[in-house]
Amino acid sequence: MYDNDQRPARRVVITGLGTVSSIGLGVTAFLDGLRSGRSGVKPITAFDTTGFAHANGCEVTGFDPAEWIHRVDATELGRATQFSVAAARMAVADAGLTPEELRARRALVSVGTTDAESRDLDALVDVELREGPERLPATVVRRAQAGRLSTGIVRELALTDVEALTLPTACAAGNYAIGSGFDAIRGGEVEVALCGGADAVCRKTFAGFYRLGTIAPEVCQPFDKDRKGILTGEGAGILLMESLETARARGARIYAEVLGYGLNCDAHHPVAPDQDSLARCMRIAHRNAGVKPQDIDFISAHGTGTRANDVTEAGAIRQVFDAPPPTVSIKSMIGHSMGAASALASAACALALTEGFIPPTVNHHETDPECGLDCVPNVARSTELNVVQNNALAFAGNNAVLILGRHREAQ
């Protein structure tokens, strides 16, 4: 909802969190998982894994769409959209907004994703191989649309004055979506934004990463000298954001303030990250947020647990920070939930700021000297936090870095 009106910039705060993850449904369970260093790893059940030498992942279990999705027929939604819609419902409830109050505000819904409903596309390929392309089921075809991840939320919440945006900018997409919501509220375009990311485990992505030799056989060990790769995961994280004024006016609980974000593109290699370019993205984010490297109290890293990512990311961090702050990867707990990854990590950062702790990097034995970071091994650390940074990288060198700050009411 762009227009050219000049309005004073507003401060943007997060007042609601919705999380669907392999370590818990809902913000309470998610927080408990982060604090206790819970691991969501288990054998993959989403598809037949016969023929793969190993197939662990971080799937969401115990998810009943009927529990969260009330207006829309859940069978018309793919699994990723179900996660997205459920997380949005959770975020609205968590923010203490009634559906009517929400509908009365102009809104942006933006959801990032890597695969959207590729799980349904996998299923359709299976049907094609067995029965031919003439036999595809219409219900599955219709729901296998990337745009559904955001329009599903709109339909479920019966929003009318709304822009529904899906951002399939792969594994950095969650931060992209949150960033766009931040700009929309800061610029006064909308009064509320439901932003984040969602993805569902699918065969296509597992097979691809497996072929690249980047799937860990058992567990994900970011920054460990014996790290062996990623574990594919799934879930959704949706943040409810609004201006500080509206949050104050309704006496809302404020998790954190969104201070700013930075985006850039390596424009170099389809899959290999570029250290200098990532360092530049962090600097862009700091400038946009008006913070300095020394202000950052911890970094939630992209930290996939592959050889290449972790050493490149650590190198970029050392390029920007004279003394790097603690740098953790919650992918050690929830795996790589693709488009949901940076959204769930943003939710984790917001909770960390509110609760005063740094989530741990679990499965950690010995830090890779080439990474050389304090990754808060295995046990969460209690500490007061003011500013945190959330990194996200994607294929094609799409980088996105988000900066959140603790909100303190002036005395």
């Binding site: 762009y2 894994t49 990337a146 339909r155 399939p168 900018t169 700009d183 424009a267 899959v271």
Partner: protein, 361 residues
């Protein structure tokens, strides 16, 4: 802040590669949909609007295109055309230039081919690693950036038929947020057998007759002042984008009317100033409801309607970007005249409507 203007554009369409063939075809109202050879275009449709003789090898280059899929090649070519038309200016400061590109669900052909290899191969991991990035939805935007060395924000947008309008909205917001000096913004869609089957099954029986089209359009969006300094013509000012959602199809008309009214009201444009309207014109009832909704908002105004769909087929994610290109084509080399406004509209079957309002600079 200086207002944002569209100062260059390119199109790759069933009329051919480039803005000129597109402008000629649209202005003449020539239908570019033709019979499809079932040998090269198998699937449920016997007619379609495909970019003639287009391939990555011929239109992008011999080297580095071995595994490039069609939508990526269309996007890379469209961005290349745009950069060429402004002498590469936007990439002289590659870090300051953003690329925002809309697609459907990426290339469903690439995604589903990849899965097919996993199902059908001797081993489930007998997939082609070099084609894995094609099976991820940010490939077209990402590869366009890699090919043309565009190092600013690189974002992929998806929203069905509204994709082009959403990309425009996102791009303008990105600029306003201070994330770039200019944006290359547009959308691309490929014709593929797999997309054809998905579209055919996804549509109601009444809509199945509409042939599919493909192509892409990309625009240079920059502040008016920057356009002036660079010697780019300000073809149109982007006044606003607006979106709304509807429940039942019967609400489409009212939702779009509200959307357009709101756009006019906030920008102070009189309905009578709107001289050009480029609607989506989707199949079934939707096209009539869309035009009725626009008519309700414009009242007695009598704009010229540019209907792309009968000429190009259903270009899905590229549709609203190609509509915007059609408006610029109709406006000519000098762009929209001062005091003249244009409207691009769309109705998405997922329950959303949107519009972009432009005016002479």
């Amino acid at each position: 802040m200086s207002p944002l203007v569209l100062s260059a554009w390119s199109a790759v369409s069933p009329y051919g590669v480039g803005a000129e063939p597109f402008a000629r075809g649209i202005t003449a109202g020539r239908c570019a949909v033709g019979p499809l050879d079932p040998a090269t275009h198998p699937g449920p449709f016997d007619r379609g609007g495909v970019v003639p003789d287009f391939s990555a090898r011929t239109h992008v280059g011999k080297k580095g295109t071995r595994t490039m899929d069609r939508v990526t090649a269309l996007a890379v070519a469209a961005v290349g055309q745009l950069l060429e038309s402004c002498d590469g200016g936007p990439v002289r400061q590659p870090e300051e230039t953003a690329l925002v590109l809309g697609t459907g669900s990426g290339s469903v052909q690439s995604i589903m081919d990849f899965t097919r290899d996993s199902f059908a191969g001797e081993r489930p991991y007998h997939v082609d690693p070099a084609r894995f990035p094609n099976a991820v939805m940010n490939r077209a935007a990402g590869q366009s950036a890699i090919w043309h060395r565009i190092k600013g924000p690189n974002t992929t947008v998806a929203g069905g038929w509204l994709t082009g309008l959403l990309a425009l909205s996102y791009a303008a917001r990105l600029h306003r947020g201070g994330h770039c000096a200019r944006v290359l913004c547009g959308a691309a869609e490929e014709y593929s057998e797999q997309r054809a089957w998905l579209e055919w099954h996804g549509r109601s029986a009444a809509e199945r007759a509409t042939p599919l089209g493909e192509g892409g359009a990309v625009f240079l969006l920059e502040p008016a002042e920057a356009a002036r300094e660079a010697g780019h013509p300000a073809l149109a000012r982007l006044l606003t984008t607006r979106f709304r959602a509807y429940g039942a199809e019967s609400e489409v008309r009212a939702a779009l009317a509200a959307c357009v009214r709101d756009a006019l009201k906030t920008t102070g444009v009189a309905p009578g100033d709107v001289r050009l309207v480029a609607p989506l014109g989707a199949g079934g009832e939707s096209a009539a409801l869309e035009e009725a909704g626009v008519g309700d908002a414009l009242g007695a105004a009598d704009p010229r309607w540019i209907r792309c769909r009968p000429l190009l087929g259903d270009t899905s994610a590229a549709a609203t970007s190609l509509q915007l290109a059609a408006v610029l084509a109709a406006a000519g080399a000098d762009g929209l005249a001062p005091g003249e406004a244009a409207l691009v509209t769309g109705v998405e079957r997922d329950g959303t409507v949107g519009c972009a309002l432009l005016a002479g600079a």
